[in-house]
């Protein structure tokens, strides 16, 4: 890979690509391939479909870059395009409702339901889970919350709010619900494991 291109900003690479540099396009792909693929894979849970959608996002940019105006938001544009592709994927499969479903169950915060003093127990509990258990818990989240947990790996909350077209406060509250839900899932996993070991 070209080290000079690696130092360029996204917008500079976009302009270079628009002026005919294929290497600039490839640098943009290398820059976001992992995060974008993981986001799509997390949403669709299907390797073949994730690969196709991932390619579609970049091919769409490749073909229509002349219409894209660089304004310092290439990453947001990329994730927005990916999200739209994912929505189309679900629409084609009649699964659209699952993405924008509100998880009523997730609205009950765990620490609101815990008796006084048990929060510290929870603190002890958190930290013993393996990375694999955390990944599994994240995948068990309702899709809207799962999306939030993954998006915050790559985007700021402000960027997520813009991407999802929701108020910042709503996004923060949704993410908080996702964390509480994960705590419950992990606690249930560990409870089940304890029962098995007994």
């Amino acid at each position: 890979m070209d080290s000079i291109l690696q130092e360029k900003t996204d917008d500079e690479l976009v302009l270079l690509f628009k002026s005919g540099s294929g290497a600039a396009f490839e640098e943009l792909v290398y820059r976001y391939k992992n995060s974008l693929y993981q986001y799509i894979m997390t949403m669709v849970q299907d390797e073949g479909a994730a690969g196709d959608l991932f390619q579609e996002v970049f091919i769409s940019f490749f073909k229509h870059a002349d219409k894209y105006e660089p304004r310092g938001k290439f990453k947001s544009w990329l994730f927005l395009t990916a999200r739209n592709r994912v929505l189309n994927f679900f629409r084609d499969r009649d699964q659209l409702t699952s993405l924008d479903q509100t998880d009523e169950e997730g609205n009950a915060f765990l620490h609101d339901t815990l008796p006084d003093g048990e929060a510290s127990l929870l603190e002890e509990l958190t930290g013993r889970e393996t990375e694999e258990e955390i990944r599994r818990a994240a995948l068990e989240l309702p899709q809207r919350q799962r999306e939030m947990i993954y998006l915050r790996q790559y985007l700021s909350f402000k960027e997520i709010a813009e991407l999802l077209d929701r108020p910042l406060g709503t996004v923060l509250a949704d993410c908080h619900r996702a964390v509480k839900k994960m705590q419950r899932i992990l606690a249930a996993q560990q409870g089940a494991a304890r029962e098995v070991s007994l």
């Binding site: 929060a119 603190e123 909350f157 964390v179 994960m182």
Partner: protein, 133 residues
């Protein structure tokens, strides 16, 4: 709800100034927020982006930047044909008499004939001149 929001912003490094300091102090007394923060940090580690499959990326490049045009595959064949044609032309050209050499021999023959005539004419004139003077 304020602490919930601040917790999320703090975890992603988006909380600044006095609000950040106030939340730090809150963390010292709130086990629930500490537990959530810890889980968020461990989630970040666990969900660190796995590499996209190399085959997917290579396929993407094959469809875009490294795409071969229709004529790209024919380039060697076209170049070979062009060379063959050129060779053939040169070969056929070699069978023709040398036009330049042919023209020169004609000129020399014409000149020698005409020079002879002129030379004879000049000699006759000279002989007549000598006879008279």
């Amino acid at each position: 709800m304020k602490y919930c929001e601040d917790l999320m912003l703090y975890a992603s490094g988006e909380l600044d100034g006095p609000r950040k300091e106030a939340f730090r102090q809150h963390l010292q007394v709130c086990a629930s927020c500490r537990a959530e923060l810890k889980l968020l940090q461990r989630t970040d580690e666990a969900l660190a982006a796995a590499a996209a499959p190399g085959s997917v990326v290579e396929e993407l490049f094959a469809k875009t930047t490294r795409r071969k045009s229709f004529f790209a595959g024919w380039k060697p064949a076209l170049a070979g044909t062009a060379l063959l044609g050129l060779g053939l032309l040169m070969f056929l050209g070699g069978l023709q008499p040398d036009k330049t050499a042919f023209d020169a021999s004609e000129v020399i023959a014409y000149m020698s004939e005409n020079l002879d005539d002129e030379y004879l004419s000049f000699s006759n004139d000279l002989a007549l001149f000598e006879q008279e003077f």
